[in-house]
Amino acid sequence: MLHVARLARLALADDEVERLTDELAAILDAVGIVAELDLAAVPPTSHPLDVVNVWDDDEPRESLSLDDVFANAPARDGDLFRVPPTV
Protein backbone atom coordinates (compact mmCIF):
# COMPACT_ATOMS: atom_id res chain seq x y z
CA MET A 1 0.00 0.00 0.00
CA LEU A 2 2.82 2.39 0.86
CA HIS A 3 4.62 1.41 -2.32
CA VAL A 4 1.53 2.23 -4.37
CA ALA A 5 1.07 5.52 -2.51
CA ARG A 6 4.68 6.33 -3.23
CA LEU A 7 4.22 5.53 -6.95
CA ALA A 8 1.14 7.76 -6.99
CA ARG A 9 2.92 10.50 -5.00
CA LEU A 10 0.35 10.67 -2.24
CA ALA A 11 1.63 11.45 1.24
CA LEU A 12 -1.07 9.58 3.14
CA ALA A 13 -1.56 9.94 6.87
CA ASP A 14 -1.44 6.72 8.90
CA ASP A 15 -5.20 6.56 9.51
CA GLU A 16 -5.76 7.21 5.82
CA VAL A 17 -3.48 4.33 4.90
CA GLU A 18 -5.44 2.08 7.23
CA ARG A 19 -8.81 3.14 5.87
CA LEU A 20 -7.68 2.88 2.25
CA THR A 21 -6.18 -0.53 2.85
CA ASP A 22 -9.57 -1.85 3.99
CA GLU A 23 -11.50 -0.09 1.26
CA LEU A 24 -9.19 -1.16 -1.53
CA ALA A 25 -9.24 -4.74 -0.29
CA ALA A 26 -13.04 -4.76 -0.56
CA ILE A 27 -12.99 -3.10 -3.97
CA LEU A 28 -10.32 -5.42 -5.29
CA ASP A 29 -12.39 -8.36 -4.09
CA ALA A 30 -15.35 -7.05 -6.04
CA VAL A 31 -13.49 -6.18 -9.22
CA GLY A 32 -11.20 -9.19 -9.03
CA ILE A 33 -14.01 -11.40 -10.33
CA VAL A 34 -12.85 -10.52 -13.85
CA ALA A 35 -10.22 -13.19 -13.20
CA GLU A 36 -12.97 -15.85 -13.38
CA LEU A 37 -13.17 -15.46 -17.12
CA ASP A 38 -10.90 -17.43 -19.41
CA LEU A 39 -10.00 -14.76 -21.92
CA ALA A 40 -6.79 -16.20 -23.34
CA ALA A 41 -8.22 -16.04 -26.87
CA VAL A 42 -9.83 -12.60 -26.51
CA PRO A 43 -7.92 -9.54 -27.74
CA PRO A 44 -7.81 -6.51 -25.44
CA THR A 45 -9.69 -3.31 -26.29
CA SER A 46 -7.93 -0.13 -25.27
CA HIS A 47 -10.26 2.10 -27.22
CA PRO A 48 -13.90 1.84 -28.29
CA LEU A 49 -13.28 3.79 -31.50
CA ASP A 50 -11.96 1.94 -34.53
CA VAL A 51 -9.94 4.75 -36.08
CA VAL A 52 -6.26 4.98 -37.05
CA ASN A 53 -3.79 7.56 -38.41
CA VAL A 54 -5.20 10.73 -36.94
CA TRP A 55 -2.43 13.30 -37.25
CA ASP A 56 -1.64 16.86 -38.06
CA ASP A 57 0.68 18.52 -40.57
CA ASP A 58 3.96 19.83 -39.21
CA GLU A 59 2.95 23.49 -39.35
CA PRO A 60 3.80 25.54 -36.26
CA ARG A 61 1.07 27.59 -34.67
CA GLU A 62 1.26 30.37 -32.16
CA SER A 63 2.24 29.49 -28.62
CA LEU A 64 0.72 31.02 -25.48
CA SER A 65 1.76 34.45 -24.27
CA LEU A 66 3.96 34.40 -21.17
CA ASP A 67 1.09 35.98 -19.23
CA ASP A 68 -1.04 32.96 -20.07
CA VAL A 69 1.78 30.49 -19.46
CA PHE A 70 2.21 31.77 -15.91
CA ALA A 71 -1.39 32.84 -15.23
CA ASN A 72 -1.88 30.06 -12.67
CA ALA A 73 1.74 29.41 -11.69
CA PRO A 74 2.32 29.00 -7.95
CA ALA A 75 5.95 30.17 -8.28
CA ARG A 76 7.31 32.13 -11.22
CA ASP A 77 10.97 33.07 -11.39
CA GLY A 78 11.63 35.33 -14.36
CA ASP A 79 10.19 33.37 -17.25
CA LEU A 80 10.76 30.02 -15.56
CA PHE A 81 8.71 27.81 -13.26
CA ARG A 82 10.35 27.50 -9.89
CA VAL A 83 10.15 24.27 -7.88
CA PRO A 84 11.82 23.02 -4.72
CA PRO A 85 15.07 21.13 -5.43
CA THR A 86 14.56 17.75 -7.06
CA VAL A 87 16.63 15.85 -4.51
Binding site: V4, A5, A8, A11, L12, E23, T45, A71, P74
Partner: protein, 498 residues
Protein backbone atom coordinates in the same frame (compact mmCIF):
# COMPACT_ATOMS: atom_id res chain seq x y z
CA UNK B 1 -38.63 43.32 -9.82
CA UNK B 2 -40.74 40.53 -11.23
CA UNK B 3 -38.81 38.68 -13.91
CA UNK B 4 -40.21 38.76 -17.44
CA UNK B 5 -40.00 35.03 -17.67
CA UNK B 6 -40.62 32.21 -15.26
CA UNK B 7 -37.75 29.89 -16.01
CA UNK B 8 -39.05 26.91 -14.08
CA UNK B 9 -40.85 25.27 -16.95
CA UNK B 10 -39.17 26.98 -19.88
CA UNK B 11 -37.52 24.65 -22.41
CA UNK B 12 -34.50 25.76 -24.40
CA UNK B 13 -36.53 25.64 -27.61
CA UNK B 14 -39.14 27.92 -26.07
CA UNK B 15 -36.45 30.24 -24.73
CA UNK B 16 -34.88 30.40 -28.19
CA UNK B 17 -38.31 31.28 -29.59
CA UNK B 18 -38.71 34.12 -27.10
CA UNK B 19 -35.33 35.53 -28.09
CA UNK B 20 -35.89 35.04 -31.82
CA UNK B 21 -39.26 36.76 -31.67
CA UNK B 22 -37.54 39.48 -29.62
CA UNK B 23 -40.08 39.04 -26.83
CA UNK B 24 -37.15 38.80 -24.46
CA UNK B 25 -33.58 39.95 -24.96
CA UNK B 26 -30.67 37.62 -24.23
CA UNK B 27 -29.71 39.87 -21.35
CA UNK B 28 -33.22 39.77 -19.84
CA UNK B 29 -33.31 36.02 -20.17
CA UNK B 30 -29.92 35.76 -18.50
CA UNK B 31 -31.14 38.00 -15.69
CA UNK B 32 -34.25 35.89 -15.25
CA UNK B 33 -32.15 32.79 -14.76
CA UNK B 34 -29.84 34.60 -12.35
CA UNK B 35 -32.90 35.64 -10.40
CA UNK B 36 -34.11 32.03 -10.29
CA UNK B 37 -30.68 30.95 -9.16
CA UNK B 38 -30.76 33.57 -6.42
CA UNK B 39 -34.12 32.26 -5.34
CA UNK B 40 -33.61 28.50 -5.42
CA UNK B 41 -29.91 27.70 -5.56
CA UNK B 42 -29.23 28.47 -1.94
CA UNK B 43 -31.03 25.25 -1.16
CA UNK B 44 -29.78 23.23 -4.15
CA UNK B 45 -26.17 24.32 -4.58
CA UNK B 46 -26.29 23.39 -8.26
CA UNK B 47 -23.86 26.18 -9.17
CA UNK B 48 -20.32 26.70 -7.97
CA UNK B 49 -20.28 30.14 -9.59
CA UNK B 50 -22.39 32.16 -11.99
CA UNK B 51 -21.54 34.62 -14.74
CA UNK B 52 -23.24 37.90 -14.01
CA UNK B 53 -23.16 39.33 -17.50
CA UNK B 54 -24.64 37.97 -20.68
CA UNK B 55 -22.27 38.39 -23.60
CA UNK B 56 -24.01 36.32 -26.25
CA UNK B 57 -26.75 36.76 -28.79
CA UNK B 58 -28.79 33.79 -27.71
CA UNK B 59 -29.91 31.91 -24.64
CA UNK B 60 -27.74 30.93 -21.65
CA UNK B 61 -26.21 27.58 -20.80
CA UNK B 62 -24.80 25.94 -17.68
CA UNK B 63 -21.50 24.08 -17.96
CA UNK B 64 -20.29 21.40 -15.63
CA UNK B 65 -17.22 22.58 -13.79
CA UNK B 66 -14.96 20.07 -15.56
CA UNK B 67 -15.32 22.10 -18.78
CA UNK B 68 -12.58 24.71 -19.20
CA UNK B 69 -13.93 28.22 -19.61
CA UNK B 70 -11.43 30.92 -20.51
CA UNK B 71 -11.20 33.47 -17.76
CA UNK B 72 -13.72 31.67 -15.54
CA UNK B 73 -12.51 29.52 -12.66
CA UNK B 74 -12.74 25.79 -13.41
CA UNK B 75 -12.09 23.47 -10.48
CA UNK B 76 -13.58 20.10 -11.45
CA UNK B 77 -15.00 20.08 -7.93
CA UNK B 78 -11.52 19.71 -6.48
CA UNK B 79 -9.37 21.70 -4.08
CA UNK B 80 -6.36 20.85 -6.19
CA UNK B 81 -7.76 23.19 -8.86
CA UNK B 82 -8.89 25.86 -6.43
CA UNK B 83 -8.63 29.28 -8.11
CA UNK B 84 -7.49 27.72 -11.39
CA UNK B 85 -8.59 30.00 -14.23
CA UNK B 86 -8.15 28.41 -17.69
CA UNK B 87 -6.46 30.50 -20.36
CA UNK B 88 -8.34 28.64 -23.08
CA UNK B 89 -11.86 27.42 -23.78
CA UNK B 90 -12.73 23.76 -24.07
CA UNK B 91 -13.85 23.00 -27.63
CA UNK B 92 -17.43 22.43 -26.46
CA UNK B 93 -17.41 25.78 -24.62
CA UNK B 94 -16.06 27.47 -27.74
CA UNK B 95 -18.73 25.84 -29.90
CA UNK B 96 -21.45 27.00 -27.54
CA UNK B 97 -20.01 30.51 -27.66
CA UNK B 98 -19.85 30.40 -31.45
CA UNK B 99 -23.54 29.46 -31.46
CA UNK B 100 -24.27 32.58 -29.41
CA UNK B 101 -24.92 30.77 -26.13
CA UNK B 102 -23.86 32.63 -23.03
CA UNK B 103 -22.28 31.07 -20.00
CA UNK B 104 -24.71 31.17 -17.10
CA UNK B 105 -22.40 29.46 -14.67
CA UNK B 106 -20.33 26.45 -13.71
CA UNK B 107 -22.21 23.61 -12.11
CA UNK B 108 -21.26 21.37 -9.26
CA UNK B 109 -19.73 17.96 -9.80
CA UNK B 110 -18.23 15.15 -7.83
CA UNK B 111 -14.51 15.77 -7.62
CA UNK B 112 -13.01 15.03 -11.06
CA UNK B 113 -16.44 13.65 -12.03
CA UNK B 114 -15.84 10.69 -9.72
CA UNK B 115 -19.08 9.81 -8.03
CA UNK B 116 -22.82 9.26 -8.37
CA UNK B 117 -24.23 11.83 -5.98
CA UNK B 118 -22.10 15.05 -6.08
CA UNK B 119 -21.35 14.36 -2.43
CA UNK B 120 -17.71 14.03 -3.45
CA UNK B 121 -17.50 17.67 -4.49
CA UNK B 122 -14.90 19.51 -2.46
CA UNK B 123 -17.35 22.41 -2.39
CA UNK B 124 -20.25 20.52 -0.78
CA UNK B 125 -23.05 18.43 -2.25
CA UNK B 126 -25.85 19.58 -4.54
CA UNK B 127 -29.44 18.74 -3.66
CA UNK B 128 -32.23 17.16 -5.65
CA UNK B 129 -34.90 19.71 -6.63
CA UNK B 130 -37.60 17.06 -6.18
CA UNK B 131 -36.53 16.51 -2.59
CA UNK B 132 -33.63 18.50 -1.18
CA UNK B 133 -32.99 15.79 1.39
CA UNK B 134 -31.89 13.60 -1.51
CA UNK B 135 -28.96 13.62 -3.89
CA UNK B 136 -29.36 14.78 -7.49
CA UNK B 137 -27.16 11.93 -8.70
CA UNK B 138 -23.70 12.39 -10.09
CA UNK B 139 -21.26 13.26 -11.08
CA UNK B 140 -23.22 15.82 -13.08
CA UNK B 141 -25.72 16.48 -10.32
CA UNK B 142 -25.19 20.22 -10.57
CA UNK B 143 -26.23 20.48 -14.22
CA UNK B 144 -29.21 18.17 -13.77
CA UNK B 145 -30.41 19.93 -10.64
CA UNK B 146 -30.06 23.28 -12.40
CA UNK B 147 -32.10 22.18 -15.43
CA UNK B 148 -34.72 20.53 -13.27
CA UNK B 149 -35.11 23.58 -11.05
CA UNK B 150 -35.31 26.02 -13.96
CA UNK B 151 -31.89 27.46 -13.14
CA UNK B 152 -30.72 26.85 -16.71
CA UNK B 153 -32.57 26.00 -19.91
CA UNK B 154 -29.95 23.40 -20.65
CA UNK B 155 -26.44 22.43 -19.78
CA UNK B 156 -23.49 20.26 -20.58
CA UNK B 157 -22.23 17.39 -18.52
CA UNK B 158 -19.53 14.80 -18.89
CA UNK B 159 -20.16 11.09 -18.69
CA UNK B 160 -17.59 8.42 -17.95
CA UNK B 161 -19.75 5.66 -16.51
CA UNK B 162 -23.13 7.36 -16.14
CA UNK B 163 -22.45 10.91 -14.98
CA UNK B 164 -24.95 12.44 -17.44
CA UNK B 165 -27.55 9.71 -17.64
CA UNK B 166 -27.83 8.86 -13.95
CA UNK B 167 -28.35 12.40 -12.59
CA UNK B 168 -30.74 13.09 -15.47
CA UNK B 169 -32.77 10.10 -14.32
CA UNK B 170 -32.67 11.14 -10.68
CA UNK B 171 -33.63 14.75 -11.44
CA UNK B 172 -36.24 13.99 -14.10
CA UNK B 173 -34.60 15.50 -17.13
CA UNK B 174 -33.26 14.29 -20.46
CA UNK B 175 -29.56 13.52 -20.81
CA UNK B 176 -27.52 12.18 -23.67
CA UNK B 177 -24.22 10.41 -23.35
CA UNK B 178 -23.07 10.56 -26.99
CA UNK B 179 -21.17 7.92 -28.94
CA UNK B 180 -17.53 7.91 -27.93
CA UNK B 181 -15.71 10.05 -30.49
CA UNK B 182 -18.59 12.28 -31.51
CA UNK B 183 -17.91 15.16 -29.12
CA UNK B 184 -14.53 16.74 -28.44
CA UNK B 185 -12.97 16.23 -25.03
CA UNK B 186 -10.41 19.00 -25.62
CA UNK B 187 -10.30 21.26 -22.61
CA UNK B 188 -12.46 19.04 -20.45
CA UNK B 189 -10.66 18.02 -17.27
CA UNK B 190 -9.96 14.35 -17.93
CA UNK B 191 -11.15 11.50 -15.75
CA UNK B 192 -10.81 8.37 -17.91
CA UNK B 193 -9.90 9.23 -21.47
CA UNK B 194 -11.21 6.14 -23.23
CA UNK B 195 -14.60 6.61 -21.56
CA UNK B 196 -15.17 10.35 -21.07
CA UNK B 197 -17.77 11.96 -23.32
CA UNK B 198 -19.42 15.36 -23.13
CA UNK B 199 -23.16 15.55 -23.59
CA UNK B 200 -26.27 17.70 -23.24
CA UNK B 201 -28.84 17.81 -20.46
CA UNK B 202 -32.22 19.52 -20.97
CA UNK B 203 -35.92 19.25 -20.32
CA UNK B 204 -36.81 17.70 -23.68
CA UNK B 205 -35.34 15.31 -26.20
CA UNK B 206 -35.53 18.00 -28.89
CA UNK B 207 -33.51 20.39 -26.72
CA UNK B 208 -30.94 17.68 -26.17
CA UNK B 209 -30.75 16.97 -29.91
CA UNK B 210 -30.36 20.66 -30.68
CA UNK B 211 -27.55 21.12 -28.17
CA UNK B 212 -25.90 17.93 -29.41
CA UNK B 213 -25.91 19.36 -32.94
CA UNK B 214 -24.03 22.40 -31.63
CA UNK B 215 -21.24 20.48 -29.88
CA UNK B 216 -20.80 17.31 -31.95
CA UNK B 217 -18.37 16.58 -34.75
CA UNK B 218 -14.70 16.22 -35.47
CA UNK B 219 -12.30 18.50 -33.62
CA UNK B 220 -8.72 18.71 -34.87
CA UNK B 221 -7.58 19.15 -31.26
CA UNK B 222 -9.00 15.80 -30.14
CA UNK B 223 -7.53 12.85 -32.04
CA UNK B 224 -10.35 10.61 -30.88
CA UNK B 225 -13.15 12.55 -32.58
CA UNK B 226 -14.70 11.81 -35.97
CA UNK B 227 -17.12 13.53 -38.31
CA UNK B 228 -20.72 12.46 -37.68
CA UNK B 229 -21.87 10.05 -40.40
CA UNK B 230 -25.17 11.92 -40.73
CA UNK B 231 -26.35 15.35 -39.60
CA UNK B 232 -28.33 15.64 -36.40
CA UNK B 233 -32.07 15.55 -37.09
CA UNK B 234 -34.48 17.13 -34.61
CA UNK B 235 -37.09 14.46 -33.88
CA UNK B 236 -40.65 15.12 -35.08
CA UNK B 237 -42.50 11.82 -35.13
CA UNK B 238 -44.62 10.51 -32.27
CA UNK B 239 -44.84 6.95 -33.62
CA UNK B 240 -42.48 4.00 -33.19
CA UNK B 241 -43.84 1.73 -35.92
CA UNK B 242 -41.52 -1.15 -36.71
CA UNK B 243 -38.95 -0.16 -34.10
CA UNK B 244 -37.38 -3.20 -32.47
CA UNK B 245 -36.66 -2.64 -28.78
CA UNK B 246 -34.61 -5.15 -26.79
CA UNK B 247 -34.81 -5.63 -23.07
CA UNK B 248 -31.86 -7.56 -21.59
CA UNK B 249 -33.08 -10.80 -19.97
CA UNK B 250 -30.57 -10.19 -17.18
CA UNK B 251 -32.68 -7.32 -15.78
CA UNK B 252 -35.12 -9.86 -14.41
CA UNK B 253 -32.69 -11.18 -11.83
CA UNK B 254 -31.10 -7.88 -10.80
CA UNK B 255 -32.28 -7.40 -7.24
CA UNK B 256 -30.75 -3.94 -7.16
CA UNK B 257 -33.60 -2.60 -9.29
CA UNK B 258 -36.28 -1.13 -7.04
CA UNK B 259 -39.86 -2.32 -7.61
CA UNK B 260 -41.06 1.24 -8.28
CA UNK B 261 -38.39 1.69 -10.94
CA UNK B 262 -39.31 -1.64 -12.50
CA UNK B 263 -42.97 -0.68 -12.56
CA UNK B 264 -42.36 2.64 -14.33
CA UNK B 265 -40.06 0.87 -16.78
CA UNK B 266 -42.68 -1.81 -17.56
CA UNK B 267 -45.36 0.87 -18.07
CA UNK B 268 -43.10 2.62 -20.54
CA UNK B 269 -42.50 -0.58 -22.50
CA UNK B 270 -46.28 -0.90 -22.75
CA UNK B 271 -46.46 2.62 -24.17
CA UNK B 272 -43.77 1.74 -26.69
CA UNK B 273 -45.83 -1.21 -27.89
CA UNK B 274 -48.85 1.04 -28.22
CA UNK B 275 -46.77 3.38 -30.40
CA UNK B 276 -46.01 0.49 -32.74
CA UNK B 277 -42.71 -0.83 -31.43
CA UNK B 278 -41.89 -4.49 -31.02
CA UNK B 279 -40.37 -5.33 -27.66
CA UNK B 280 -38.18 -8.43 -27.45
CA UNK B 281 -35.41 -9.88 -25.35
CA UNK B 282 -31.66 -9.76 -25.80
CA UNK B 283 -28.87 -11.31 -23.82
CA UNK B 284 -26.10 -9.29 -22.20
CA UNK B 285 -24.60 -11.87 -19.84
CA UNK B 286 -21.20 -10.24 -19.40
CA UNK B 287 -22.50 -6.70 -19.00
CA UNK B 288 -24.22 -6.88 -15.66
CA UNK B 289 -21.84 -9.27 -13.97
CA UNK B 290 -18.50 -7.99 -15.24
CA UNK B 291 -19.27 -4.49 -16.51
CA UNK B 292 -18.84 -2.77 -13.18
CA UNK B 293 -15.63 -4.64 -12.21
CA UNK B 294 -14.24 -3.93 -15.68
CA UNK B 295 -15.10 -0.26 -15.36
CA UNK B 296 -13.60 0.05 -11.90
CA UNK B 297 -10.30 -1.27 -13.22
CA UNK B 298 -10.08 0.68 -16.47
CA UNK B 299 -11.41 4.04 -15.32
CA UNK B 300 -9.21 4.30 -12.19
CA UNK B 301 -6.16 3.14 -14.15
CA UNK B 302 -6.60 5.90 -16.69
CA UNK B 303 -7.53 8.35 -13.92
CA UNK B 304 -4.36 7.57 -11.96
CA UNK B 305 -2.40 8.73 -15.00
CA UNK B 306 -4.67 11.64 -15.94
CA UNK B 307 -4.45 13.04 -12.42
CA UNK B 308 -0.65 12.86 -12.33
CA UNK B 309 -0.40 16.35 -13.81
CA UNK B 310 -1.70 17.89 -10.59
CA UNK B 311 1.71 18.29 -9.03
CA UNK B 312 1.72 21.89 -7.86
CA UNK B 313 4.31 22.93 -10.44
CA UNK B 314 2.42 24.88 -13.12
CA UNK B 315 -0.99 25.61 -11.59
CA UNK B 316 -3.10 24.95 -8.54
CA UNK B 317 -2.22 25.35 -4.89
CA UNK B 318 1.22 24.18 -3.79
CA UNK B 319 2.11 22.74 -0.41
CA UNK B 320 5.20 24.12 1.22
CA UNK B 321 7.99 21.54 1.36
CA UNK B 322 11.79 21.45 1.23
CA UNK B 323 12.09 19.13 -1.78
CA UNK B 324 10.24 18.58 -5.03
CA UNK B 325 9.16 15.05 -4.08
CA UNK B 326 7.74 16.11 -0.74
CA UNK B 327 6.07 19.13 -2.31
CA UNK B 328 4.29 16.94 -4.86
CA UNK B 329 3.22 14.35 -2.29
CA UNK B 330 1.84 16.93 0.12
CA UNK B 331 0.20 19.01 -2.60
CA UNK B 332 -1.63 15.94 -3.83
CA UNK B 333 -2.48 14.74 -0.35
CA UNK B 334 -3.94 18.14 0.55
CA UNK B 335 -5.60 18.71 -2.81
CA UNK B 336 -7.35 15.44 -3.58
CA UNK B 337 -10.38 14.29 -1.62
CA UNK B 338 -11.04 10.69 -0.57
CA UNK B 339 -12.63 9.46 -3.83
CA UNK B 340 -9.87 10.59 -6.22
CA UNK B 341 -7.32 9.21 -3.79
CA UNK B 342 -9.15 5.89 -3.73
CA UNK B 343 -9.25 5.72 -7.50
CA UNK B 344 -5.67 6.87 -7.96
CA UNK B 345 -4.54 4.16 -5.57
CA UNK B 346 -6.73 1.54 -7.21
CA UNK B 347 -5.63 2.52 -10.71
CA UNK B 348 -1.97 2.72 -9.81
CA UNK B 349 -2.22 -0.74 -8.31
CA UNK B 350 -4.05 -2.17 -11.34
CA UNK B 351 -1.29 -0.91 -13.65
CA UNK B 352 1.70 -1.74 -11.48
CA UNK B 353 4.29 -4.36 -12.30
CA UNK B 354 3.02 -7.85 -11.64
CA UNK B 355 -0.67 -6.88 -11.51
CA UNK B 356 -1.23 -5.41 -14.97
CA UNK B 357 -2.20 -8.68 -16.67
CA UNK B 358 -4.56 -9.84 -13.94
CA UNK B 359 -6.32 -6.50 -13.58
CA UNK B 360 -5.96 -3.87 -16.28
CA UNK B 361 -5.09 -6.36 -19.04
CA UNK B 362 -7.95 -8.67 -18.12
CA UNK B 363 -10.39 -5.73 -17.94
CA UNK B 364 -9.43 -4.70 -21.46
CA UNK B 365 -10.39 -8.17 -22.64
CA UNK B 366 -13.69 -8.03 -20.79
CA UNK B 367 -14.25 -4.79 -22.65
CA UNK B 368 -13.93 -6.68 -25.92
CA UNK B 369 -16.66 -9.08 -24.75
CA UNK B 370 -18.93 -6.19 -23.80
CA UNK B 371 -18.51 -4.62 -27.22
CA UNK B 372 -19.27 -7.95 -28.90
CA UNK B 373 -22.40 -8.72 -26.94
CA UNK B 374 -23.82 -5.23 -27.45
CA UNK B 375 -23.06 -5.48 -31.16
CA UNK B 376 -24.82 -8.83 -31.39
CA UNK B 377 -27.87 -7.47 -29.60
CA UNK B 378 -27.97 -4.39 -31.82
CA UNK B 379 -27.77 -6.51 -34.95
CA UNK B 380 -31.13 -8.01 -34.01
CA UNK B 381 -32.66 -4.92 -32.44
CA UNK B 382 -32.65 -1.16 -33.06
CA UNK B 383 -32.35 -0.04 -29.47
CA UNK B 384 -31.85 -1.58 -26.05
CA UNK B 385 -34.01 -0.32 -23.18
CA UNK B 386 -33.30 -0.54 -19.45
CA UNK B 387 -33.97 1.64 -16.45
CA UNK B 388 -31.20 4.24 -16.22
CA UNK B 389 -30.66 3.90 -12.50
CA UNK B 390 -31.69 0.91 -10.40
CA UNK B 391 -33.03 3.32 -7.79
CA UNK B 392 -34.61 6.73 -7.50
CA UNK B 393 -32.73 9.54 -5.76
CA UNK B 394 -31.43 8.40 -2.39
CA UNK B 395 -31.00 10.47 0.77
CA UNK B 396 -27.87 12.56 1.13
CA UNK B 397 -25.34 10.62 3.19
CA UNK B 398 -26.94 7.23 2.50
CA UNK B 399 -24.07 5.76 0.49
CA UNK B 400 -21.34 8.25 1.18
CA UNK B 401 -19.46 5.90 3.50
CA UNK B 402 -19.72 2.84 1.29
CA UNK B 403 -17.80 3.15 -1.99
CA UNK B 404 -19.11 -0.15 -3.37
CA UNK B 405 -22.75 0.80 -2.76
CA UNK B 406 -22.09 4.09 -4.53
CA UNK B 407 -20.39 2.32 -7.43
CA UNK B 408 -23.46 0.10 -7.85
CA UNK B 409 -25.52 3.16 -8.85
CA UNK B 410 -23.98 2.89 -12.30
CA UNK B 411 -24.64 -0.81 -12.77
CA UNK B 412 -26.95 -0.21 -15.73
CA UNK B 413 -25.19 2.74 -17.36
CA UNK B 414 -21.64 1.41 -17.31
CA UNK B 415 -21.63 -1.46 -19.85
CA UNK B 416 -22.62 0.65 -22.85
CA UNK B 417 -20.08 3.31 -21.84
CA UNK B 418 -17.36 0.69 -22.01
CA UNK B 419 -18.68 -0.31 -25.42
CA UNK B 420 -18.55 3.33 -26.59
CA UNK B 421 -22.27 3.40 -27.39
CA UNK B 422 -24.66 6.33 -27.10
CA UNK B 423 -27.27 6.35 -24.37
CA UNK B 424 -30.23 8.61 -23.81
CA UNK B 425 -32.03 8.89 -20.49
CA UNK B 426 -35.53 10.27 -20.44
CA UNK B 427 -37.87 10.57 -17.47
CA UNK B 428 -40.50 7.83 -17.62
CA UNK B 429 -42.54 8.31 -14.48
CA UNK B 430 -42.38 8.68 -10.75
CA UNK B 431 -41.77 6.23 -7.96
CA UNK B 432 -42.57 7.48 -4.47
CA UNK B 433 -42.84 10.94 -5.97
CA UNK B 434 -39.32 10.80 -7.41
CA UNK B 435 -38.35 10.60 -11.09
CA UNK B 436 -37.45 7.33 -12.78
CA UNK B 437 -35.25 7.31 -15.86
CA UNK B 438 -35.51 5.19 -18.97
CA UNK B 439 -32.21 4.40 -20.68
CA UNK B 440 -32.22 3.92 -24.45
CA UNK B 441 -29.03 2.52 -25.97
CA UNK B 442 -28.25 2.51 -29.67
CA UNK B 443 -25.49 1.57 -32.07
CA UNK B 444 -22.44 3.78 -32.57
CA UNK B 445 -23.55 7.14 -33.99
CA UNK B 446 -27.17 6.07 -33.59
CA UNK B 447 -28.07 9.33 -31.83
CA UNK B 448 -30.79 10.27 -34.33
CA UNK B 449 -32.49 6.95 -33.73
CA UNK B 450 -32.34 7.53 -29.97
CA UNK B 451 -33.76 11.03 -30.42
CA UNK B 452 -36.69 9.72 -32.50
CA UNK B 453 -37.39 6.95 -30.03
CA UNK B 454 -36.97 9.17 -27.00
CA UNK B 455 -39.11 11.94 -28.46
CA UNK B 456 -42.01 9.64 -29.35
CA UNK B 457 -41.95 8.07 -25.90
CA UNK B 458 -41.59 11.47 -24.25
CA UNK B 459 -44.79 12.63 -25.99
CA UNK B 460 -46.63 9.51 -24.93
CA UNK B 461 -45.37 9.62 -21.35
CA UNK B 462 -46.14 13.32 -20.91
CA UNK B 463 -43.83 13.59 -17.93
CA UNK B 464 -43.94 16.96 -16.18
CA UNK B 465 -40.32 17.96 -15.61
CA UNK B 466 -41.20 20.49 -12.92
CA UNK B 467 -40.70 19.03 -9.45
CA UNK B 468 -44.04 18.39 -7.79
CA UNK B 469 -43.41 20.79 -4.92
CA UNK B 470 -43.08 23.73 -7.30
CA UNK B 471 -45.93 23.02 -9.69
CA UNK B 472 -48.66 25.15 -8.10
CA UNK B 473 -48.93 28.54 -9.67
CA UNK B 474 -45.87 28.27 -11.77
CA UNK B 475 -47.16 28.96 -15.22
CA UNK B 476 -47.03 32.61 -16.24
CA UNK B 477 -46.50 31.76 -19.90
CA UNK B 478 -49.33 29.24 -19.98
CA UNK B 479 -47.06 26.48 -21.04
CA UNK B 480 -48.60 23.72 -18.94
CA UNK B 481 -50.65 21.51 -21.26
CA UNK B 482 -53.32 20.61 -18.71
CA UNK B 483 -54.30 22.30 -15.47
CA UNK B 484 -54.92 19.17 -13.46
CA UNK B 485 -51.67 17.53 -14.51
CA UNK B 486 -49.54 19.53 -12.12
CA UNK B 487 -50.47 17.54 -9.08
CA UNK B 488 -50.41 14.09 -10.64
CA UNK B 489 -48.01 12.11 -8.44
CA UNK B 490 -47.25 9.58 -11.17
CA UNK B 491 -46.04 12.34 -13.45
CA UNK B 492 -48.09 10.83 -16.26
CA UNK B 493 -50.82 12.71 -18.03
CA UNK B 494 -54.27 11.26 -17.39
CA UNK B 495 -54.77 9.94 -20.91
CA UNK B 496 -51.49 8.02 -20.80
CA UNK B 497 -52.09 6.49 -17.41
CA UNK B 498 -53.22 2.92 -18.03
Amino acid sequence: MTPLVDTLRLTAEEALGLVERREVSPGELHAAYLEAIGERDGELHAYLRTAEISDGASIPIALKDVISTKGVETTAGSRILESYVPVFDATVAARCKAAGLTLLGKTNTDEFAMGSSTENSAWGPSRNPWDPERVPGGSGGGTSAAVSAGLAPWGLGSDTGGSIKQPSALCGNVGLRPTYGSVSRYGVVAFASSLDQIGPVAKTVRDVALLYSIIAGRDASDSTTVELPEPVALPETDRLDGLRIAVPTQLESLDAIEPGVRAAFELTLGLARELGAEVGECDLPTSYRYGMPCYYLIAPAEASSNLARYDGVRYGPRADAPTYDEMVERTRDDGFGPEPKRRIMLGTYALSAGYYDAFYGQAQKVRTLLIREHREALERFDVIATPTSPTVAFPVGDKAADPLAMYACDLLTIPSCLAGLPGLSIPCGLSDGLPVGLQLLGPQFGENLLFRTGHALEQAIGFDTVPVRWREGSDPLGLTPADDEGSDPTGLTPEDTP
